[in-house]
C-alpha cells in the first residue's frame, strides 16, 4: 500500500464520512486520545461550517491493560452501549493501536445483534492515510444499500465534508444539473440519515467529488451498475464539458444548457476585465492546477513574473463557474489593493 506520509490519519478521513450520517454513531476502537483529537477537529470545523451539531463518536478507551490482554471485550461492551442509543447504524473504525495488538474486530461484530454494524477497516496509519480512510468509509457504508431501479437522478459521492466551501460547491453542482433538468437523489455522504443510503443504488449516474475517489466509483459501478463521472466540474471549459458528459450519460440534450452557461461565463469574464494583462505571481497549494490555471492565464492574458502581485490558487480547485467567480473576486481584490 502506498500512502502519503503527511496526509493525516485514516480515522480522520473515515470519520469525515461516518459522522455525516446523522442518526448513526461511530466507534473508534482505540484510546480516548484518538477520539478526542478527531472529535475536537470535527467540532472546530463544524463551527466553521455553521453546523452546531456535535458528532457522535464513542471510544473503546483502550488503555495499557487492553494493550496487554487484548481489547475485544472493550469493543463488545462499547457496541452494547451504542445499541442503547437507538442509532440507525453503528460504524466501527479501528485505530493503529487496535491494529497493532491484533484484535479480531470482525468476530466481535459477528456476535452482536442490534442495528446494522458496519466495520470500516481503517487501522489508523497502518491502513494508509486520510484519503484511504475516506474511500474505506464510502465503500463500507455502501453495504447498507442492496440495489434498486434507476431513477434518472444522480448521486454526489464523496463530498469533502471538512471543506470550508462544501455547501457552496454542492449548490453550484445542483445549479448546473438543474440547467439539464437533473435532480440530485443522494449526497453520499453528507448530512443524511441511515435510511437514505438505501437509495444509493437507484441513481442513474454517480458524480464523484474528485478523481481520488475513482476506486469508489468503480466499486459502486460493479455493485449497482451505476456509471460515474470522475469529479465535480473545474474550470470554465471543464464546467461546459461536465454539462455535456452528464447529458451524454443520462441521454439528455445538453446544447441549450451549455449555451446558457457559456453566456453566463462570458459575463463573468467581462466582469473581471480589470484582471486583464496584469503581471502576477501564482501561489498554488496543490499539484493539480495545470489545465485550469493555464486556461485562466490565457483567458485574462495574465503575465507570470516573480515580482507580480501574489495571487492564491486553491486546492481543491474551485468548483464550477461560481467557484471561479469567487476566486476571481479574491484575485481582483488583491489587484485593486
Amino acid at each position: 500500500m502506498t500512502s502519503s506520509r503527511t496526509e493525516g490519519c485514516t480515522l480522520t478521513g473515515a470519520l469525515s464520512v461516518t459522522t455525516s450520517v446523522q442518526d448513526a454513531v461511530s466507534i473508534i476502537h482505540g484510546p480516548d486520545g484518538c477520539a478526542h483529537h478527531n472529535f475536537s477537529l470535527l467540532h472546530a470545523l463544524h463551527f466553521d461550517n455553521d453546523q452546531l451539531v456535535l458528532p457522535s463518536i464513542l471510544s473503546t478507551s483502550l488503555k495499557e491493560q487492553e494493550i496487554i490482554f487484548g481489547g475485544e471485550k472493550a469493543l463488545e461492551d462499547t457496541i452494547t452501549r451504542a445499541f442503547e442509543g437507538n442509532h440507525g447504524a453503528v460504524f466501527i473504525l479501528t485505530s493503529c493501536v487496535a491494529a497493532a495488538i491484533g484484535d479480531d474486530v470482525r468476530s466481535v461484530c459477528c456476535e452482536v445483534h442490534g442495528c446494522p454494524v458496519i466495520i470500516v477497516p481503517t487501522g489508523g496509519f497502518l491502513g494508509g492515510g486520510f484519503s484511504d480512510g475516506v474511500k474505506s468509509a464510502l465503500i463500507a457504508l455502501s453495504s447498507l444499500c442492496h440495489g434498486g431501479n434507476q431513477s434518472g437522478m444522480v448521486n454526489l459521492v464523496g463530498e469533502k465534508n471538512l471543506e470550508y466551501e462544501a455547501e457552496a460547491n454542492y449548490r453550484e453542482v445542483a445549479r448546473l444539473l438543474s440547467l439539464l433538468g437533473v435532480k440530485i437523489q443522494l449526497r453520499f455522504v453528507r448530512n443524511i440519515p441511515v435510511s437514505a443510503i438505501g437509495n444509493l443504488g437507484c441513481a442513474s449516474l454517480n458524480i464523484l467529488r474528485d478523481e481520488s475517489l475513482t476506486d469508489v466509483g468503480s466499486a459502486l459501478e460493479n455493485r449497482f451498475g451505476t456509471p460515474f463521472l470522475p469529479s465535480f466540474p473545474v474550470g470554465f471549459e471543464g464546467t461546459l464539458r461536465f454539462l455535456s458528459r452528464v447529458g451524454e450519460e443520462l441521454d439528455i440534450e445538453s446544447d441549450s444548457a451549455i449555451a446558457a452557461e457559456r453566456a453566463y461565463q462570458k459575463g463573468i469574464i467581462e466582469h473581471f476585465s480589470d484582471l486583464r494583462r496584469k503581471t502576477v505571481m501564482i501561489h498554488h497549494w496543490g499539484q493539480t492546477s495545470g489545465p485550469v490555471l493555464t486556461e485562466l492565464l490565457e483567458t485574462f492574458d495574465l503575465e507570470l513574473k516573480d515580482h507580480g502581485r501574489l495571487l492564491s490558487f486553491p486546492d481543491p480547485l474551485p468548483v464550477g463557474t461560481a467557484g471561479l467567480f469567487r476566486m476571481l473576486s479574491r484575485w481582483q481584490r488583491v489587484i485593486h489593493a
Binding site: 484510546p31 480516548d32 461492551d77 493501536v97 497493532a100
Partner: protein
C-alpha cells in the same frame, strides 16, 4: 463500562509535546504518524517535527528515520526532545537505546494517560539545573493550551515585579537558557501542573494565596515589598464586593456548573460562593479529582457532561465550547480548552488580583447579559 462518548481531553502524547513546545530552543519530535502530529501542531501553533511513520516503518523499523531527523535538528536547536506515540510503544521499539545520550526522551503514548500525565512526565525529563545564584523565582503551571497561559504569565510577572522579584524560568513557556539554570524557588500558577522543579513557595491562584506566597518569598529574598500588592488587593476586593452586592440586590445568586482542571474549577467555585453565595451544582473535572467542599465528578466525555448538566441544570456555565454546546440555555464563560467559535486575542489571567477581578467581571456580565436576553 469504560467506553467514552466524545472524549473531551487530550492524551498524554499531546501533554508531553505541549511541555517541550513551550521551551524555545528545544526541537520537539513526535515519533509517530502524521495523524498524531497534526493535532498538537494545529492547536499549539509552535514548530513541531515528526517522523511521519507509515506502515513500512513499523515492519522494517524506523530507527534510521528517527536518527536522521534528530541529527538534522541537533544542528538547529539547543536540545532535541523525542515524544513516543502509541504504535512504536506497542511494538516495543527501543528508542532510548539507539538515541544519542543527550536527547530528551519521553515514552508518552496516548493510551498511557491523559494530558496532565504526559505534560508532567515531560517536565520531569527537562534538563533543569536549579542554581541558588539565579535571581528571581520560577513560574510553574504555565502551559500553552491553557486559555489563561499568557495572562497568568503576565500577571505573575507584574505582581512579582511590584514586590521587587524578577521571574526566572517559566514552566513551560520560556527559552532553554532560562531553564538551565533555573531558580531554586518556584511559584505555582496552576497547582494541577507542578513540574517539581524548584522549591514550591505557594500559588498565585487566588488573592489570599498570592499574599501567602509573597510572604513566603519575603522570608527567602531580600528587599521584598508587599505594600503595592496590598494596596491593589484592597482596591480590587472592595470593587468586587461592591459590584456583587449591587448584583444581588436585584438578582438571585447564580446556580453554577464549572468544567475544567480541578484547581481552576475549585478556585472559581470558592470565589463564586464567597462573593455571590452561588450554588455550585457540580465541578466537572477533566483531570484528577481531589477533595473539595463542592460536588466534584469526572467530566472527560460529552455524555458525562450532559448527564451532570441535566441532573442539576445551571444558569451559569464555566467551561469549554463543548459545554457551551451541551447547554446553550445557560450563561457561558470561556474557562478551559478548547474554545471554538469565539475570538480571543488578549491575555486573560485567572491568577493574582487581575485574575480574580477578571473572573468576577466575566461572571457578573455574563449573568446580566443572560438576564437581559431572557427578559428584554
Amino acid at each position: 463500562m469504560r467506553e467514552c462518548m466524545n472524549a473531551l481531553w487530550p492524551c498524554a502524547m499531546t501533554g508531553a509535546v505541549t511541555c517541550f513546545a513551550g521551551i524555545g530552543g528545544i526541537g520537539t519530535v513526535i515519533h509517530g504518524p502524521s495523524g498524531c502530529y497534526f493535532y498538537p501542531a494545529t492547536i499549539l501553533h509552535r514548530e513541531l517535527h515528526c517522523t511521519f511513520l507509515i506502515e513500512e516503518d513499523i515492519i522494517f523499523g524506523a530507527e534510521e528515520r528517527l536518527l536522521d531527523l534528530v541529527r538534522s535538528l541537533q544542528e538547529r536547536y539547543r536540545a532535541v526532545a523525542v515524544v513516543n506515540t502509541c504504535t512504536p510503544a506497542i511494538i516495543g521499539e527501543d528508542i532510548r537505546h539507539y538515541l544519542p545520550g543527550e536527547i530528551i526522551m519521553v515514552d508518552s503514548p496516548g493510551f498511557l494517560g491523559n494530558f496532565e500525565d504526559g505534560y508532567l512526565a515531560a517536565c520531569r525529563a527537562l534538563p533543569v539545573k536549579p542554581d541558588p545564584d539565579v535571581c528571581g523565582v520560577n513560574l510553574d503551571g504555565i502551559q500553552l493550551l491553557d486559555p489563561f497561559c499568557s495572562g497568568n504569565s503576565l500577571e505573575a510577572e507584574r505582581i512579582l515585579a511590584s514586590a521587587g522579584i524578577p521571574v526566572a524560568a517559566r514552566f513551560c513557556d520560556c527559552t532553554f537558557d532560562q531553564i538551565n539554570p533555573a531558580s531554586c524557588s518556584t511559584v505555582q500558577t496552576n497547582p494541577d501542573l507542578a513540574s517539581g522543579h524548584g522549591l514550591a513557595r505557594g500559588t498565585f491562584l487566588g488573592i489570599d494565596d498570592t499574599e501567602k506566597a509573597l510572604k513566603c518569598l519575603e522570608k527567602h529574598y531580600d528587599d521584598v515589598r508587599l505594600d503595592a500588592f496590598e494596596r491593589e488587593r484592597d482596591i480590587a476586593e472592595h470593587a468586587i464586593e461592591t459590584s456583587c452586592e449591587k448584583f444581588l440586590m436585584r438578582h438571585d445568586p447564580p446556580e453554577v456548573a464549572l468544567f475544567s482542571g480541578f484547581s481552576y474549577a475549585d478556585f472559581a467555585a470558592r470565589m463564586l460562593k464567597k462573593y455571590l453565595d452561588a450554588s455550585i451544582t457540580v465541578i466537572g473535572c477533566r483531570n484528577g479529582i481531589r477533595h473539595s467542599p463542592f460536588r466534584v465528578a469526572e467530566a472527560c466525555s460529552l455524555s458525562a457532561v450532559q448527564e451532570l448538566i441535566a441532573g442539576d441544570p445551571p444558569d451559569l456555565l464555566l467551561g469549554s465550547s463543548f459545554e457551551r454546546m451541551a447547554c446553550p440555555t445557560a450563561a457561558f464563560i470561556p474557562f478551559t480548552y478548547p474554545l471554538r467559535g469565539m475570538v480571543r486575542l488578549r491575555a486573560r489571567p485567572i491568577i493574582g488580583i487581575q485574575g480574580l477581578a477578571g473572573l468576577m467581571e466575566d461572571v457578573l456580565n455574563a449573568c446580566l447579559d443572560h438576564q437581559h436576553a431572557r427578559d428584554p
